[in-house]
């Protein structure tokens, strides 16, 4: 099914009585939702783009690539550096804005510019009973009523089908420089990244690949970037020499080192200072640290129950790619799980939106 308007979509959902798999571009969905596919690609098109107000409103089916090109022509961009998951998940297709929001997909710049949910200023969606709902709007500051936009971000299509999304944008800086520290252990790397992120020099990327090096990014006007490169190098002198290297951020963002490699892929949200210890206990085949250690990607043997192996951690693990029957999302505490269940029952009373996903 591929509705071309919000009204068509509402009709479909009102009539539906069997499970649906909600799909944008099909590039980043995770988990094992089962049912007839409902595609949102028909709900496309930029509705409002105001460069002078840094705001964009577009249909949820609008292609990310198309939007990024449109913004780039005005020297602007989505702040949160949209990851491309096709390589990691072995998919094709064209990513959509709605899919990005449903996954709250956020790249390395999150440490400074926030996640997708932080740039999201409004949504329209159709709930599982076919009711059209609008929340938020096109202005950056809005505390009118409950913030359902945030609730929709990262809900993986379980509360409603997004039809329109609005974002706050940022200018593309004049210059971006990537710095590398070599030879640090994971623990030292996390410490160095913390020192950089805790400095006033506005680091917009902090990643570490064991054996590859520890990478930092500085962005802004040229003079300012030059100044901060000097300051950060001095600030991190105790960790060794800092060298300028080529852009690595698309590879960090898309977890390129794991592409074409067999095994399960886990994504860990962690308290950064605990990351090296968690990784040491994980026994993974490959590791990539992003967000200063706040995000860790692990490649493990197929079917390994990483959650069982790690026990309690300061954070949680999501299974991004696997053929096993292990749950995709970490279990929630009973009280939180009850709220989740209650919300899903209210927004999807027939239980047809990506059932089986998210607990």
């Amino acid at each position: 099914m591929r509705p071309m308007t919000e009204a068509d979509l509402a009709d479909i959902l009102r009539a539906a009585d069997a499970p649906l798999v909600i799909r944008g571009g099909g590039t980043r969905g995770i988990g094992r939702a089962m049912g007839e596919v409902l595609e949102t690609g028909g709900l496309a098109g930029v509705r409002i783009y105001e460069p002078g107000a840094l705001t964009l409103v577009a249909g949820a089916g609008t292609s990310v690539a198309e939007v990024e090109a449109l913004l780039a022509a005005e020297g602007q961009r989505l702040p949160f550096e949209v990851p491309d998951r096709r390589g990691l998940l072995g998919r094709g297709g064209d990513s959509t804005l709605g899919g990005v929001v449903a996954a709250n997909a956020s790249g390395p710049r999150r440490v400074q510019a926030g996640a997708c949910r932080d740039s999201l200023i409004g949504v329209r969606f159709v709930d599982g009973a076919g009711v059209v709902v609008k929340n938020g709007g096109r202005v950056m500051k809005n505390v009118t009523g409950l913030d359902l936009s945030k609730l929709m971000a990262g809900s993986h299509g379980t509360l409603g089908v997004l039809t329109e999304v609005s974002f706050k944008l940022l200018p593309i800086p004049e210059q971006a420089v990537t710095l590398r520290l070599a030879g640090l252990s994971d623990a030292q790397a996390v410490e160095a990244m913390a020192a950089a992120l805790g400095s006033p020099f506005e680091v917009t990327g902090a990643a570490h690949g064991p054996g590859q090096g520890t990478f930092l990014r500085l962005e802004g006007f040229e003079k300012s970037v030059r100044y901060r490169v000097g300051q950060v190098s001095r600030h991190l002198a105790r960790f060794g020499a800092v060298e300028e290297v080529a852009d690595v951020w698309p590879d960090v963002r898309d977890v390129t080192p794991f592409h074409e490699r067999a095994g399960d892929v886990w994504r860990l949200s962690l308290r950064p200072s605990t990351a090296a210890d968690v990784v040491a206990r994980a026994g993974a085949e490959a590791v990539l640290y992003d967000w200063g250690g706040g995000l860790v990607w692990l490649l493990t043997a197929p079917g390994l129950d990483l959650r069982a192996r790690l026990g309690a951690i300061d954070g949680h693990a999501t299974l991004i790619r696997s053929d096993s029957a292990l749950p995709t999302f970490a279990p929630e505490s009973p009280g939180v799980a009850a709220l989740t269940k209650g919300l899903r029952a209210k927004f999807d009373p027939k239980g047809i939106l990506n059932p089986g996903l998210m607990g």
Binding site: E50, V139, A194, G198, F221, E332
Partner: protein
């Protein structure tokens, strides 16, 4: 503005309820003497007052949970309260309610500079959060003008903003996790010192929920390294239109100031008379502040000057020293005080798309003429969050109602041009009955469903945010 009649059955059970509360709280934590409960009769929206049945001031999450369990069993409405600085009546009591004040829970539980967070009890004031980390060169970014008094609890309740939110975002963008007690007394931890929840983003809907979903007792807040320095520039323009166009061009120019503040002529004149900041005599004035090292600041200010010159400013003053910066901010910071000198005022808080600024300011001027009231505008122009101040005389019969009617017209105008009723102060009771202007029934119903899940008996702050006609069935049930 209507409030529901107090529940007679609750009032009839007053003694029994108070006795149960007394049994779970230390002696000084329950206030029920009518002379003392008056201290809680209003928040900063002082036009509306009503003493609560009782106020409780717990010191632990366990005490909060015990109070909520009793109130739930006895069907007593509960109004959570931080410092009571809400401008929207968010913490306004009803005669049958218990005010749950969080002010005594003001401790710092943990600070971690490597992981860049602070874990606090939410009764802690906003400014003292920064106070706890600034010796290490850190700060908590959201900085409402009320930061000396307001509590993190209320900041989370209202999703409050501040002078620097153009760059650093509002409360929701700086909140990592909360401990929240539901109306049934269950203590839940949502989020923590890491990014993203494993499931739905409940934190996102809790922040800004105005005490509707639970009582927040602890919070994990993102702390940021303080910038090396900051400096403002002040510019005057011949018209609101030109100033608005300049704001737009600064944003399009790829600059990211921490603040872009706008004042119109009535506001400039009022603050000049009051604070004597030496502002130019002009139609509209902008204060733009940038951050960084001295070289970085110079570089940004040079770019801003080049943009401003295209709009032929009638005045242009760049701060070169701490002292000059203070003087430039002096007038802006005393704007509300200055208006207070001139009479009573109500302060609106609607947001509009930045491109609509000139039109909206013109319409506000016309409305002021129609109503025969004076209005001054001072606001965060970078994000379109307006603060029209409507002057009136509280001692003249009907004047408040007239000012409120005009305020409602302005807020409807904000919605009509694509904006919203409130950018940072919240809905409370003040804008409750205007919600129909912004939300269709289904849009509102979707929000009510979230409250149904968190607070099925509708006991938490039940007469706020949503129009009474919409919630009538739920509050009764």
């Amino acid at each position: 503005m209507d409030m529901p009649l107090p529940d007679a059955s609750v009032l009839a059970r007053r003694d029994r309820i108070l006795a149960q509360l007394a049994a779970v709280l230390p002696g000084d934590a329950l206030i029920s003497d009518p002379t003392e409960t008056r201290a809680y009769e209003c928040d900063a929206l002082t036009a509306y007052r009503c003493p609560p049945m009782a106020a409780v001031l717990p010191r632990t999450t366990a005490e909060v949970a015990a109070v909520l369990r009793i109130c739930h069993a006895e069907r007593v409405p509960v109004v959570p309260r931080g410092s009571g600085t809400s401008l929207a009546g968010g913490a306004l009591p009803t005669a049958d309610c218990v005010i749950l004040g969080i002010a005594r829970m003001n401790g710092v539980i943990e600070t971690d500079y490597a992981d860049r967070f602070i874990h606090v009890q939410t009764g802690r004031t906003n400014l003292s959060v920064t106070g706890a980390v600034e010796h290490e060169g850190f700060c908590y970014a959201p900085d409402p003008s009320s930061q000396l008094a307001c509590a993190i609890a209320g900041n989370i309740g209202m999703n409050s903003g501040g002078a620097h939110c153009l760059k650093y975002g509002v409360t929701t963008n700086n909140l990592l996790g909360v401990r929240i007690v539901t109306m049934t007394g269950d203590v839940l931890t949502i989020g923590g010192p890491w990014s993203d929840a494993p499931g739905l983003d409940l934190l996102g809907v809790i922040c800004g929920s105005e005490g509707q979903l639970g009582v927040v007792t602890e919070a994990w807040l993102r702390i940021l390294p303080k910038p090396e320095g900051a400096r403002p520039v002040l510019m005057g323009f011949a018209s609101n239109e030109v100033a608005g166009a300049c704001v737009s061009d600064i944003i399009k120019g790829g600059l990211l100031p921490v603040a872009i503040e706008f004042m119109d002529r009535p506001c400039i004149q009022a603050t000049e008379a009051f604070a004597k900041a030496g502002y130019p005599d002009c139609e509209a004035l902008l204060i733009v502040e940038v951050e960084g090292s001295p070289t970085e600041i110079d570089d940004q200010l040079a770019r801003i000057k080049a943009i401003a010159e295209r709009h032929t400013p009638v005045a242009y003053r760049e701060s070169r020293s701490e002292d000059e910066s203070k003087r430039i901010w002096l007038g802006r910071k005393s704007a509300f005080g200055a208006m207070g000198q001139m009479g009573d005022y109500i302060c609106l808080d609607g947001t509009i798309p930045v491109s609509e600024l000139p039109f909206v300011l013109r319409r506000i001027g016309e409305l002021a003429d129609d109503y025969g009231l004076r209005v001054a505008n001072v606001f965060h122009a970078g994000d379109g969050n307006m603060h029209p101040l409507i002057l009136f005389n509280a001692n003249r019969a009907g004047d408040l109602e007239k000012a409120e009617a005009m305020g409602a017209d302005i807020l409807r105008l904000c919605v009509d041009v694509g904006g919203c009723l409130t950018g940072e102060h919240g809905v409370g009771v003040e804008k409750r009955d205007l919600m129909h202007a912004q939300f269709k029934r289904d849009d509102m119903e979707a929000q009510l469903r979230v409250k149904d899940v968190f607070d099925p008996a509708w006991l938490l702050n039940p007469a706020k945010v949503f129009p009474l006609d919409v919630t009538a069935g739920r509050r009764a049930g």
